[in-house]
Symmetry: C2
Subunit: 217 residues, 2 copies
């Protein structure tokens, strides 16, 4: 049987995992809204971001409460602090999904991206959703090895990001600057989503191994 | 005379103020590098970002040490946790300055932005540097009212961001998609720099008033 501290910490960890689940769903639905020009779906993603923000506050409040009541030290203390940092990164992943939904809403009834970008954006969504799921698993199982896979997925996302840019600067691009500006930002949102997953993974590595994984973004 | 806890907290606060000073300098120098196509200046901004990252780790380590040794509760505890969150936001401001320096480096010996964007980018830099300075003052003086001014400056930055986009989508834009992609990202970096300053300001408001200032980004 676990002690009170670890039971509380498990609850915080459950909230973090739930956050990763919600941001993964948000990214998938935001992408659908963008590719199908689905206004009500876009609105629902934007509205649902409040739940993610709320969960983040819950994690912060629980963590602070835990620090005050149990006054953990050493590794226990680091775990609580790290949970708050993770919550911050995952909340931001939700913001990025919301940004994509907002582009879908802004461009409605037009489609948010031209046809020739649909495939790469679909791939970005798949990779991002996969990253969110893996991040949740890594948190649930305190799995430092999963961090390696998360980095690899993020590399794939970065490559797709570069593919978008290559399409935009190609001479055959015929959709004008406005569509290029939108696509630049959309692609950047997916890329940042991946960066935050990597940041969370680096924190898991730190918790498990006691060493910082150097990460740049 | 202050007690040991508040002396330690003052040291953390000093580090945060120093971080705002460094990110303000980084933004000014990154912009100079961009507008003057100054490669060595760009390189120095990129290298100097390590100092900001280092300070952020120092804040985190101090804060965790303080939590372990002094086991603060209530407002004192919230102040320490908030300091860590602020460090995270300010470090990110440094990353955004580094991103701008990287565009300068990537485009060298070309200029990173076309002539018609120089004025608005110069204005963005001034506003961003001002924001960083005000954020430092607000931290130093625990000044919740400064947060209102920081929001106003950030609104100005958002307006400049829209001005960049208006220039890009104007029919007279003659620099092609690649320059538009660069300008979109550059402008986004300044805008995000402002968002993080607002996030820090919101935390100061929370510390002083006990209430969350609603902030979206």
């Amino acid at each position: 049987m676990r002690d009170a501290f670890h039971e509380d910490l498990d609850k915080i960890s459950d909230d973090l995992v739930e956050m990763t689940r919600l941001v993964g769903i948000a990214m998938t639905r935001a992408t659908d809204a963008l590719l199908q020009a689905d206004l009500s779906l876009a609105e629902s993603v934007i509205a649902a971001d409040d739940d993610i923000d709320q969960l983040r506050r819950q994690v912060d409040d629980h963590a602070i409460d835990l620090l005050a009541r149990q006054q953990p030290v050493a590794t226990d203390l680091r775990m609580v602090v790290t949970a708050m940092h993770m919550a911050s990164d995952i909340e931001r992943m939700g913001d990025l999904a919301r940004h994509i939904a907002k582009v879908a809403r802004m461009r409605y009834p037009e489609h948010g991206v031209p046809d020739e970008l649909r495939e790469v954006i679909t791939d970005m969504e798949k990779t991002a959703a996969h990253l969110a799921a893996k991040t949740g698993e890594a948190i649930a199982h305190k799995d430092a090895l999963a961090a390696v896979e998360i980095e690899k997925d993020d590399d794939a996302l970065d490559q797709l990001h570069r593919k978008v840019f290559a399409t935009l600067v190609d001479h055959s691009w015929a959709h004008g600057t406005e569509a290029a500006v939108d696509a630049t930002l959309i692609s950047r949102y997916y890329e940042r989503f991946g960066d935050h997953a990597v940041a969370v993974a680096a924190r898991i590595v730190y918790l498990v191994t006691g060493r910082y994984a150097d990460q740049q973004s």
